[in-house]
Symmetry: C2
Subunit: 332 residues, 2 copies
């Protein structure tokens, strides 16, 4: 035996030990799709601090409320919000029953495929389309329509169902927070009724932990049966300054962690950070044109401009998608 | 040894066996404050049926939603709703800051102790008093005021805090349902912000599982700090036909069990019972003038009239307080 062969068993032993160690370390990492980074450390440090019994930052489990924006924070929102695509598809589907749409903008343009004219109608036009397609049916019917659409319609770039475009690092984060005693909520500018059918299966978040926008709903007796009918009128817009209000009306407590991705989330994050004790505010920055999209200040979808400026001075954590996420989806 | 002494060991053995059996039977009864009755059997049968895997009435845990009215269903509401007493006390407390109330009805009458005139002002007057005393402060301030009041103000008849007047049989029922995988909600005509500070400790129901009435709330920046301010304007009345609507907007699913005590709960129970599969609707009937109160059709508080007529034909279970509840409170 020369020195090399003598050393071999020790080398193998060390290699095995190192392998076992790294496997264990990996098994112990609750956020494997997050690259080691300031963002990941901030999350783990925060969670450790607020869950450490006797620690100065300890928060009782019942106060561990975490709120997440939906579009662009938990799933893909680009190049157009999923709910708007649903509304557009519904217009095409319902058109035979609405001959008046052939003469009325922006419906006419949409049916003609003239998206420039639809675009010119702006948010007012979009809202008309949303109201027309999200009302006039019962609670159950709307839920069924949404479920069918989301189970069959694919995102063009990715050729995947929208529910398959939930961000893997965020699914890990939601599960990690819940394992640490947090209650996780979705606080979305979109309609709560639009995503409630899929949040439990996709995110492990039950329908009652979705706080969103809504249309006025009425109790009517149809064939003597008490029935909830969705009306063509906005009840509440759970966006921007509406987010802290929606949180108060629905959850009744101030979150200790809030995660958004656009200027629409500024107030939610500010309200969260303004509470006493340790808090964490985070923002997804879409920087990955290859694996997802890159957009921020000048984008009409998920505009991230003022929030980007505010983040630094206020200690909000910017999560850079390209740099901080090892995987964005299950496979890339 | 004569026959008697011979028989003694066997007698003791039987006695012990019977004692052990009865202890076990008691330990196995999840509803010890409920007398054996049709009401108790209905509950236990229903819960067994919907939780029996493979059974025809099986309901998945995530769909086991149970909604409870609050005043008169979970705690004492007589002779006047607790929240109204709070509002009256607040008027007296705030009067020095509101000299205009000395000249304005029904505030003047209330400050003069002239309850007849207050009564004549009716619901409109009560609503004015509620709005005046429930707005003009932040979310945190209101929560603190309510908490202090509920921690110090006693019910005159019982000389107890209102939270001590939660019904023991109902606390057992809530715990039993949760042990069987149900999620329990309070669906109240009162303000959700009024009871949220006490529901977790009193009922094991966290603030976000309280669905109630609300005032419009605004996000304002006070000294640069994002602050929620309660406004003197009704946002939503979660009563009567509003209850199914509130349930839809907040919980997003139809309950399978609903428990009320007055005509204000008719729509909630009807909506619950109109769903597919097995359902349970229940009503507390206040029949115990000795231990609590006896009132129904002609009462202005918790009027139980039409619901009493509807119950029989629709299979709703009437819980007769005097007959069905062994204990109403912890000690009687």
């Amino acid at each position: 035996m020369n020195k090399t062969t003598q050393a071999l068993p020790i080398f193998i032993l060390l290699l095995s030990a190192s392998l076992v160690f790294s496997m264990c370390a990996n098994a112990g990492d609750p956020l494997p799709s997050w690259n080691p980074s300031k963002a990941k450390n901030s999350i783990v440090d925060f969670v450790s601090a607020v869950t450490k019994k006797g620690g100065k930052d300890y928060v009782k489990p019942e106060d561990r409320i975490a709120t997440f924006d939906h579009d662009g924070t938990l799933w893909v929102e680009y190049p157009i919000y999923t709910q708007i695509l649903f509304a557009y598809d519904r217009v095409k589907q319902l058109a035979p029953k609405h001959p008046e749409w052939r003469k009325k903008q922006p419906f006419k343009a949409l049916l003609d495929g003239d998206m420039n004219t639809v675009g010119v109608a702006g948010m007012k036009g979009v809202m008309e389309i949303i109201l027309a397609t999200h009302s006039g049916m019962t609670d159950t019917e709307f839920s069924r329509e949404v479920s069918t659409w989301l189970a069959t319609t694919k995102h063009k770039k990715f050729d995947r169902l929208y529910t398959e475009l939930a961000y893997k690092p965020q699914l890990e984060l939601l599960a990690y927070l819940r394992a640490k005693g947090f209650k996780t909520f979705i606080v979305t500018g979109g309609g709560s009724a639009f995503i409630r059918p899929i949040t439990a299966k996709t995110y492990g978040i039950p329908p009652e932990q979705v706080v969103g926008s809504s249309v006025v709903t009425e109790l009517q007796y149809i064939d003597g049966k008490p029935t909830l009918v969705r009306m063509p009128k906005i009840n509440f817009i759970n966006d921007k300054a509406g987010k802290p209000v929606g949180i108060y009306q629905h959850i009744g407590r101030r979150p200790i962690l809030a995660f958004g991705n656009s200027d629409s989330d500024i107030q939610m994050i500010e309200y969260t950070m303004a509470g006493e004790g340790r808090r964490l505010g985070l923002i997804v920055h879409h920087t990955d044109a290859d694996r997802e999209y890159a957009y921020d200040r000048k984008s009409h979808i998920g505009t991230l401009d003022k929030a980007l400026d505010k983040a630094g001075g206020n200690g909000w954590i910017i999560v850079d998608m390209k740099r901080d996420w090892k995987k964005i989806f299950a496979d890339k």
